[in-house]
């Protein structure tokens, strides 16, 4: 799932990543704009996604990521890997990674790199799911 938590309405980045992921064979759900972290966590859990991507061009990435992680944890879904992207200042990347985000992609990142990152995160969770079964 690709989600736009918060109020920001710039969705072109999210849309191009959705397109790239679908072209690479991943099934992708788009949350639409103006999702609260709660709504994102609820949808991700309901859809039992393998990986959740958050797109931010609003500067609110640290708070909203923290809230989304908390909402996922509250649902017992903290094994869903989180990837964050957008206008992220370099100094915020370690903060996000320390929170438990698996990867951070700034606007410059190549689509091929981003797609690889999503597949890597998704296959890890699939391995874990298979083990659990």
């Amino acid at each position: 799932m690709i989600a736009k938590p918060g109020l920001d309405g710039h969705d072109m980045g999210a849309k191009v990543i959705i397109r790239a992921l679908r072209d690479a064979g991943m099934e992708v759900i788009y949350s639409g704009l103006r999702q609260t972290p709660e709504q994102v966590a609820a949808a991700a859990t309901q859809e039992d996604v393998d990986v959740l991507g958050l797109s931010f061009l609003s500067g609110a990435h640290v708070e909203h990521t923290r809230l989304t992680l908390a909402a996922l944890a509250a649902r017992g879904a903290d094994d869903i890997p989180l990837i964050v992207g957008g206008t992220i200042p370099p100094s915020d990347i370690p903060i996000l990674l320390k929170m438990g985000v698996k990867a951070v992609f700034v606007t410059e990142a190549a689509l091929s790199e981003i797609v690889a990152g999503f597949f890597a995160a998704a296959s890890k969770i699939n391995d874990i799911k298979e083990e659990k079964q």
């Binding site: 109020l7 920001d8 309405g9 072109m12 704009l33 609110a60 809230l67 689509l111």
Partner: protein, 547 residues
Amino acid sequence: MTLRNSAGQRKERGSVVKAAPRRITEDGVAIDPLYTPEHIVDLNYQQDLGYPGEPPFTRHPYATGYLERLWQMRLYSGFGNAEDTNARWKFLLNSGNMGVSAAFDMPSQLGMDSDNPQAAGEIGRVGVAVDTLKDFEIMFRGVPLDKVAASLNTGDSSIIMFAMLVAVAEKQGVPLNRISGSLSNDILCEYVARGTWLYPPKYSLRLNTDITEYSVRHMPRYFPHNVRGILVHESHGSPAQEIGFSFAAALEYLDRAVARGISIDDVGPRISFFFGAGTRIFEEAAKFRAARRLWARTVRERYSPTRPEAMCMRFTSCFGGHWYRAKDPMVNVARAAYGVLGCVLGGTQGMLLGGYDEAFALPTERTQRLALQTQQVCAYETDATATVDPLGGSYFVETLTNKIEADTQAYMKHLQDMGGILEAVQSGAVQRGLADRYYQIRQAEERGERLVVGVNLYASEEPEPAPELHAMNPDVARRQIQRLHQVKAERDTAGVEAALDRLAEAVNTTDNLVPVVVQAVSSYATMGEITGVFKRAFGSFQEPRSF
């Protein structure tokens, strides 16, 4: 002299360059290696170019171009609480900014009060936080509205921001007819690209027209529309899509104004546009020239104005957004200079310019000052303004101008075939088209077909020093909420309720809502309270599921 090739055979003049490979743009437009009079053999100077300040205004909206008056260098700015923005505005005015251009935070643009739980984390981030008129009063302290032009940039909260501007002018003792500046008041572009819509189009358009009517009647120096093709540009729209979509939107606004009984001669001169520009200097200049000519022809044909000013397209432009790269950001300074040049050669009336650090954060004082200086170098050190429309008559630029005009007309027809702009927007077709184009452009870049210095060409492997970025003051949210509660505690509650009741009644009539909204903001009703009245009456826009 007879030219011969290395084998001694006669060579036709110009044959070498004419045989050179053509470049193909992202939109499949072929650029010839050389342009000659043959390319523009059908150009009629009087009809197609004419003189600046006269229809079709191809060469410049004003007769003397920049010779007597430069474009308005007016950087967009706002963050934190109102006093933070007021301080930055004053810094910019001292650095040569001509007027103020307000950036509002997301909650304000969406008509949410700062104590709304959904506003958490967003207060004062991408712009200034505004909850009540009190914030506007603080923001405009020492910024007299009869001397300083004020541009306001927002979506469906336009009517509230506009009303606050009117109320502040009243408090400053400035008569309405002295106010200059502009207001976005452009919901159609918002639907496809920036997302600060609130209400379904039918109601947003009613509010748009109320603002236009009020402004045309009371504020002759103000532009109540700043139709933002830039949003299409920033969504990677082609020149034809950017101009075509914004013209379709502008015609929708004009149609409604005229339907209300406002003469095209009165409203035509009060429409302005806001376009984006990139680093393709000649394409941008041609785009703006084509736009002016096409607008003049379109307005004349559709509305038969009697005043030439009613057909004159004026615009502000901006370089920034996606053109500013995160990798090796100092290179953006060079890019910006070319962006400015394209706009100036295209005859812009105003320019915004982002800071070179835009890929990371809001600009600092330093990067904003540099953005102004970039424009100032073009204005005062180059010869780009020495004569009007210096590129006029260029075989290349006139060919490009013709091509972009034709492509734009084709795109406008395409929108009509889709059922008109409203239908196209509500179906999500335009949004999908833009997303497709962006995808192609991204892929072209990653294949190395589209070259970007420092990113996929001569990119350095050296780790980059962390840029010094604008830091968000962590106290902003607390201060804003405190101020909001204080205003609510001190205001005349009965007066606010009465004003909101009047608004709720007026919304169901065909009365112009601006005066009632002015009364509401003057009583210190909050953005959330006023928006609440509108939402209850209009409902909310449903984002089309294009993905």
